[in-house]
Symmetry: C2
Subunit: 613 residues, 2 copies
């Protein structure tokens, strides 16, 4: 084996015991590690039957084949299992430095089951992985947890930690990476899954232990070839981070405004853009492991108890969420809300969605007075945003319900509330509007973990930021039409699944890296002769495997849909005015391309073709 | 008051008492009687809070202003309340002779609450309305019940009765009218509502008591004017009944085949058509009260225990249901299934839908063996159809679940079963395919009682069988497009609502009768100067009033949808191949035309404009 260890450490926190599981090389070639191999393990062990918060329900943490190698952006690992938020397949992929540090433990990853009697953290380093007492860390925020663990294990210690939200098993809680130079495993409530195990953190001290490479020179050569191109094409991300995209996206009608009802917000978008924030609050750039893009931005927190401390600057999704979605055009509140979510360990996509949802409930007088107290969640209120984030983390007041995610929260606030809950399969939508780029309707409707943008990213293709021609598809699309959208969604989903398995960042696409490039990197690392075609077939395999898991959990065509707000509500202004996705037409084509029945079930022949049965 | 009494008899079966309620003339002008006035009473009394099968839940039975007068097709009344099947507004409108006979009781209708201690029937005649013992009738089928009551009260007695299905509170049970020359108040499970009151039947002996007319001559003149035109234009209905439409409809892709999955079935359609059945089994034509069309057909029952008896010949919906939906091309089984449903008191639309649903479950091995016993519900099996109808009526075996309707049944058979359950708001679809005529997608999605065809009937407009120009709309439509569909659906819904209120049959449309004609009849009967515009505004009022009731019951835009089978499943064959309705686009337009919010809630200004608040 080259490039990875083929070894996973399984830790049972109830018994305080661990065992080593060997994974054959052919399994890696078939599933590529990361969330791909995790899905294979999850599926083959009958884990799907367990309640996500049951003691024996696993938190599977797997690096990919490329993670930790000197491959552009090979910084990622995946937290997988069953989502406590949605009850279906969950994967939350994250970068930073911790994943690569964890891989130097001598294991490709961890499978954590059981529940510790009292709070613990795991420590990986020269001496393997140990279970340590975390009583003193419990209740600390995610940044403070990192500081405390670095004080014990050294400055270079990299950490994955939950905040109070994860401890309290808030269903929209995240697992936070690397402290203030933050990265988040945000979606699917994996913080709650970790918290349910009394597991506060995983501290990883980097060792010299790296799996050997097959052909270091070939890899260096391949890397050298693409670096200039990545730096050039992805320069916008380097300069202003993901939040630099806010004004562009607003101009295209792609930015969700006022809980997905507004069509244009150009002044607001300018005020909270990455560019505007950089002008006022920028401290420095930072990168994840092995990444030439450096999209991370440190910023000063402008208000609140953490005023003037340095923190991670908000990403595009966070600005869209706590800015446009809530009609808040004050970047100070966006940055502070982001800092607060990071510290408390809340997914900023789901977190800002539930806040915007609460604002709409408030507008419609649907929140009981005793639940509101002195809170006034009016559109645009930065103070309400900050208060609600705290209430969510500590399950207080309104936060008790909001922390369940919009779907479950809507059940509490009555039938009309469901109209304001923008989710698919229980997961809140990421902030790219399927009315602006209709291929995203297919991506969101069929996403393995629910309304995820990252499984398809096709707004980038439609917007020509990523040439679809690298996948043999046309580069030109009518953003509001249906033609070519099903095949675009399907192809990108298959391809993007390989990133989550290999440990790569999807911003490589912004650098116009091709599947052939990636297949070459894998071959250089492993010694396999992996072709572009085999890579993409593996991606198709992974997408179908996750679908198979979800089908076992009751998912079928009936769940492949968008909320009525995105199917029926023409915003009537902005660049996507007049556009509503004809989802049925695209899905019909999609199922045929996938080799699924019209009920959305993978056909036996499809599963056989992909060696899944 | 002219044309109606302005008096309703309220009967409390728990206490065996009745009271008379006077309704002011202006209420009749505003709500037109029938299901319109019923909705007004239902809404104003807070009935909506009650469980539909609770003792105090009302069964409101109201004739319309025109019912019983010598006006073409003025034969109808409405059974209204909350549907035990769907939990929302219910109206089941029915003709025959009984409604006109009931109106000669001296009351415009009845409101029945409470529950009799033992089975009873009501008898209306010269001496008002009495409550009679029905112990001997309980368990009898609907035809036998009529015979027994006629033996007591005379041959001319007209009867509304439930069969065993209604007694057993089967949620898809009907109220049957007039015995073998049958008419059915089929939809919404009103048989169960009647059964829950221990009320077996209402026997009405015709008296001389008819409300006086304002202008008999003007009415006779108006009638004379339209009769030839009705006879000419609706000749197809006279010749072969509604079932004559089967082959035409199949050619247009409008016929649902194999539980809505098939696109063409021309040989089958020819075999079970009204024409083919008439050739083999016809006995005689019959009409409802005051109807020049005479679409009723008596036929000989070809098989089973009632072989060679004369019965009602199946309607289009029944042929589509027990024929095409179940892939059964043997008309003998269609006629026998229809006879059985009539006798047992089962809605043939919902009844055949649950049978087709069971056949699809069986194909997918989703029915537990112990529930099947020796039953083999294979596609096309006439024997399985007959067995399942009996099981449904007596709540035995599989029938216990099927009798709940497809939505609730699907909950029992697991998540995949929901893919095969074709319903909206809990009501099974009538058998006109919204993929063939997309305006029907809007009609079904927004229907006050769920997936009802009769609330819109726009397939007739799109198919040019009814000129939309009588409503000031274009006569030409692209059947698979979206243009003009929202306004067509809205306008027809408003207009059709007046029929259910006035007591008219919607086949008048097939006779090209106009709103001006109808306004003239109402004016001649009542002495009002009712204009076409006032009539249509009343229709709009009624549609909004029912929506208001449903909104109070939790209905909003989220419920205005079609099942994925009709939105995503392109049948790929037949005349509607390639067509899937773009529901979102049409609904967006529709809500604006209606003056509803984008969440599907009538705006205050709309309710004010229609004098509903």
């Amino acid at each position: 084996m080259k490039g990875f260890y083929g070894r996973i450490l399984e830790i049972d926190l109830s018994r305080g015991k661990s065992t080593v599981t060997e994974i054959p090389e052919e399994e890696y070639r078939k599933y590529l590690g990361g969330s791909g191999l995790a899905a294979k393990i999850y599926d083959s062990r009958g884990y799907a039957e367990l309640d996500p918060l049951a003691e024996e329900s696993p938190l599977i943490i797997l690096t990919g084949i490329l993670t930790g190698h000197n491959v552009p952006t090979a910084c990622k690992l995946a937290f997988c299992g069953k989502s406590p938020a949605t009850g279906i397949w969950a994967e939350a992929v994250v970068g930073g430095y911790w994943p690569a540090a964890l891989k130097t433990s001598g294991y490709d990853g961890l499978i954590i089951t059981g529940k510790a009697e009292k709070p613990v953290y795991l420590c990986s380093g020269e001496n393997g992985v140990s279970i340590e007492d975390a009583t003193d860390l419990w209740g600390e925020d995610a940044y403070a947890t990192v500081e405390k663990l670095q004080a014990v294990h050294g400055d270079k210690t990299k950490v994955a930690a939950i905040g109070p939200a994860g401890e309290n098993q808030v269903l929209i809680s995240a697992i936070m990476i690397d402290g203030l130079d933050a990265r988040a495993a945000g979606r699917c409530g994996m913080g709650a899954l970790m918290g349910s195990k009394n597991l506060k953190a995983i501290a990883s001290v980097k060792t010299e232990n790296v799996p050997p490479l097959h052909d270091k020179e070939a890899l260096a050569e391949a890397r050298k070839k693409v670096l200039p191109q990545i730096r050039e094409k992805a320069k916008g991300l380097t300069d202003f981070g993901t939040a630099g995209g806010v004004p562009v996206v607003e101009k295209l009608g792609d930015l969700p405004i006022r809980n997905w009802t507004g069509g244009s917000w150009s002044e607001g978008a300018a005020k909270v853009s990455g560019q505007a924030m950089a002008d006022q609050f920028f401290v420095k750039h930072y990168a994840c492991f092995a990444c030439p893009i450096r999209c991370g931005k440190e910023m000063k927190v402008p208000i609140g108890p953490h005023k003037d401390t340095v923190s991670h600057g908000p990403e595009y999704e966070t600005v869209a969420g706590f800015g446009a979605m809530c009609l808040n055009d004050d970047p100070a509140y966006v940055i502070t809300a982001n800092d607060l979510c990071n510290r408390l360990g809340i997914d900023t996509i789901s977190g800002s969605t539930v806040v915007a949802f609460a604002m709409e409930l408030y507008e419609h007088n649907l929140i009981p007075a005793d639940l509101l107290g002195d809170l006034k969640p009016e559109w645009g209120s930065g103070e309400a945003i900050l208060k609600l984030i705290k209430q969510i983390a500590y399950r207080e007041g309104l936060g008790e319900y909001l922390g369940r995610g919009v779907k479950k929260a809507a059940e509490y606030f009555g039938p009309l509330a469901a109209e304001f809950a923008v989710e698919s399969k229980g997961l809140e939508f990421a902030f790219h509007d399927p009315r602006a780029f209709t291929s995203m309707a297919v991506v969101y409707a069929t996403g393995a973990r629910g309304a995820c943008h990252l499984e398809g990213l096709t707004y980038f293709n439609e917007n020509k930021a990523i040439p679809a021609s690298i996948l043999g598809l046309p580069d030109d699309y009518d953003p509001h039409g249906t033609e070519g959208k099903a095949v675009l969604a399907k192809t990108m989903q298959d391809y993007m699944g390989t990133f989550n398995a290999l440990g790569l960042c999807k911003f490589l696409n912004r650098g116009h890296v091709s599947p052939a490039d990636i297949a070459g990197w894998v071959s250089a690392v492993t010694g396999w002769d992996l072709t572009e075609k085999e890579l993409l077939t593996a991606g198709e395999r992974l997408f179908n495997l996750k679908r198979k898991i979800n089908v076992g959990l009751g998912i079928s065509r009936k769940n492949d849909t968008l909320p009525p707000r995105l199917l029926v509500h023409d915003r009537g202004e902005g660049a996507a005015a007049g556009s509503l996705p004809h989802l049925g037409k695209m899905l019909y084509e999609y199922y045929q391309l996938r080799g699924w029945s019209l009920e959305g079930i993978p056909a036996k022949e499809t599963l056989k073709r992909l060696s899944l049965i």
